[in-house]
């Protein structure tokens, strides 16, 4: 695809197409934007399930956020609700790992988390866009305390094995030099008459004025060693106080170097609606949301360790068979008039489920993405004390793809947990296929290219490859336009006495907002069906 980028654009439309091509060529950008489509949530406030269901029973399968949302709303509407959960905890992918936790993955490998008290790691969702209105509203209603989560940090690093001799550079430098180079080139083209056909003389003057500001150009529309550029990219010597405190400007890298570095690809993440300011995280770990739901729903409604094996339906209700993992796998059944089924399709597709062909075909049509996260506890917060990095993300083209710094506990003297790897696609497959020890070893090797301190400050860590999580078998459902056209409506439609919910039943895949919105939609439709008799 990169060859497209080198051809000469002829029209403004070509130029726009070119920009799209260049941006799209960054694998990580594709991977991350493909998770969501930068959709704003359509949440319109709390749902109202009016009318008395006369104690109708509902069995909810799965105690992740979709199942918990469904259970809470149905319970409040007067239904008698029970929840079956495979795991020994609620939350599903809304999960936080802390010291003392034991993580057993498929294949039998066991990790024992040795983090200090107060330290934690979110292996699944870890940030909440401000416009995920449903998640935000439930946090408000359930009393989940949120704090700002930092996406962009201009002091964080960008690293490519193929640029700047493999030396990491600061985000602010890449941003300033990229904006400077693009502005200078566009100003040059404008002044040479290349846009005369597109813009009036007055518009061209305004464009030049804006480019001077956008790119920190000098009076000759050049991006050079200057105070204006250094204010953005950083100084060789910062302005100080007292004698001999005059600042020394820094020298921008050439337009060619900044373009060929391809590090500008990392600048686009924060432009997407999904990652725009302000983002949040629950204080103390993402599972604070799940815990708050469980408190409201009632722990007594949940049966843990229930491995569902079969779902049957008849004219009066559903019957679900499950192995009770806490009773040696003894097979039990649970009956209810209705069923809200939030089991991930990766698991449901293998199960004996009585439903119509349209839903069965939809269940079978959605592959699940690979994803890996590795959290490393550090003996001290060297990124803050030594590098003045407070939260945010550093990017690399190495397989660990990023390092994220905690957006909490700033300046505290103790330890901190870095997200030292977060990958999708082939890297995530290869990571997942390794033993936890080998994942750790390689993560330390790669992450220490950006921060050599990681080798000496390492104090334990955990990794989660989502295909090896026994209750998930993958990160999220991957839809295409074609599979959505063919199957999405059938997946979401009520089949007999069962309706599905979860991120896989949403247009916001892999986000908690998708899970909650799908659950609200599912129970609203289910309630209408019940009320209609």
């Amino acid at each position: 695809m990169t060859e497209d980028a080198r051809t000469q654009p002829r029209t403004r439309r070509d130029l726009l197409a070119l920009i799209g091509t260049v941006a799209g060529s960054t694998a990580m950008y594709q991977a991350m934007t493909s998770l969501g489509h930068a959709q704003e949530s359509d949440y319109r406030g709390p749902i109202r399930l009016n009318g008395d269901p006369r104690g109708a029973t509902v069995l909810v399968l799965g105690a992740g956020l979709a199942g918990l949302t469904a259970a809470l709303e149905l319970k409040n509407a007067g239904y008698r609700v029970r929840i079956l959960e495979y795991d020994t905890r609620a939350g599903g992918r809304c999960w936080t790992i802390r010291g003392g936790d034991r993580i057993e993955e498929l294949g039998g490998a066991v990790q024992q988390c040795t983090f200090d008290q107060g330290q934690y790691f979110n292996p699944g969702p870890w940030r909440i866009p401000f416009h995920h209105h449903a998640v935000m509203d439930y946090c408000r209603r359930l009393g989940v305390q949120l704090e700002p989560w930092i996406q962009v940090n201009h002091a964080a690093l960008m690293h490519s094995t193929r640029a700047f001799g493999g030396r990491p550079v600061q985000y602010r430098q890449v941003q300033a030099d990229y904006h400077g180079a693009v502005s200078e080139l566009l100003a040059k083209a404008t002044r040479a008459g290349a846009l005369d056909a597109d813009l009036t003389r007055e518009d061209r003057e305004i464009l030049l004025e804006s480019l001077r500001g956008f790119g920190a150009l000098d009076s000759n529309f050049r991006y050079t060693r200057s105070a204006a550029a250094s204010v953005r990219r950083g100084w060789d010597r910062r302005p100080g106080g007292g004698v001999d405190a005059a600042p020394v400007p820094s020298t921008p890298v050439s337009a060619s170097d900044v373009l060929t570095s391809r590090l500008w690809g990392n600048l686009v993440f924060s432009a997407s609606l999904d990652f725009q300011t302000t983002m949040f995280e629950p204080v103390g770990g993402m599972d604070m949301i799940a815990r708050a739901f469980v408190r409201e729903v009632g722990e007594d409604l949940i049966t843990y360790g229930a491995r569902v094996t079969q779902i049957r339906q008849d004219a009066n209700g559903v019957e679900v068979a499950f192995e009770d993992r806490r009773a040696g796998g003894a097979v039990r059944t649970e009956r209810a008039a209705w069923c809200v089924n939030t089991i991930p399709l990766s698991i449901l597709a293998q199960m004996d489920v009585q439903c119509g062909a349209p839903m069965a075909n939809a269940i079978a049509a959605v592959p699940y993405a690979a994803s890996i996260k590795v959290g490393l506890q550090m003996k001290r917060r060297f990124w803050e004390t030594d590098h003045h990095i407070y939260g945010g993300i550093s990017y690399t083209d190495l397989p660990n793809r990023m390092i994220s710094y905690p957006s909490t506990g700033y300046l505290s003297p103790g330890k901190g947990v870095l997200l030292a790897a977060y990958a999708f696609g082939p890297f995530a497959f290869e990571y997942t296929a390794l033993s936890p020890e080998e994942r750790m070893r390689r993560t330390v090797e790669w992450a220490s290219v950006l921060h050599p301190e990681i080798r000496t400050e390492l104090d334990g860590g955990v990794s989660v490859g989502w295909h090896r999580v026994p209750g998930a078998l993958g990160c999220n459902g991957m839809w295409t336009d074609a599979t959505r056209r063919e199957h999405y409506a059938n997946l979401c439609a009520i089949d007999g006495r069962m309706v599905l919910a979860g991120e896989h039943c949403s247009y916001i895949p892999a986000w908690q907002e998708g899970s909650i919105l799908s659950a609200l939609d599912a129970v609203t439709r289910l309630h209408q069906r019940v009320m209609a008799g």
Binding site: E3, G107, S346, A433, L473
Partner: protein, 129 residues
């Protein structure tokens, strides 16, 4: 040079470039698996779910064992599943070329106690893409 030739040239160079510049050559790049050898491809991909010993795993759902799996012969089903995916399993048509899928399919058919010695060919893979 046409666009297609450029792309082919870039693809041919990619493994060498990655091997030289990635600290650990056993990983491919962000978009493609780069191993050519069936055993290495298995270890980098299939082993994540079907496990290094091919015995699969059971959780809330299960990853089928490949060891002694009667559906491995004839090879058509296996090749189709690897290329296109099945249920929750993603397909690898976009991340492996025909020869890679053929190599990993051959590996699965001749290891873990499986004894289907006829090699899978890239042509067989191409026909199911």
């Amino acid at each position: 040079m046409t666009m297609r030739q450029l792309l082919l040239a870039a693809a041919a160079l990619a493994p060498l470039a990655a091997a030289a510049q990635t600290p650990d050559p056993s990983f491919g790049n962000a978009n493609r698996f780069l191993h050519r050898d069936g055993a290495a491809l298995y270890a980098a991909t299939c082993a994540g779910c079907h496990m290094p010993d091919g015995r699969g795993a059971v959780g809330a759902g299960a990853y089928p064992a490949l060891a002694g799996n009667p559906r491995l012969d004839p090879a058509g089903y296996l090749v189709t599943v690897i290329a296109r995916g099945r249920h929750g399993m993603p397909g690898f048509a976009g991340t492996m070329d025909d020869a890679q899928i053929a190599a990993v399919a051959t590996f699965v058919r001749t290891n873990f106690g499986n004894n289907h010695p006829d090699p899978v060919t890239p042509e067989e893979v191409r026909s199911v893409r």
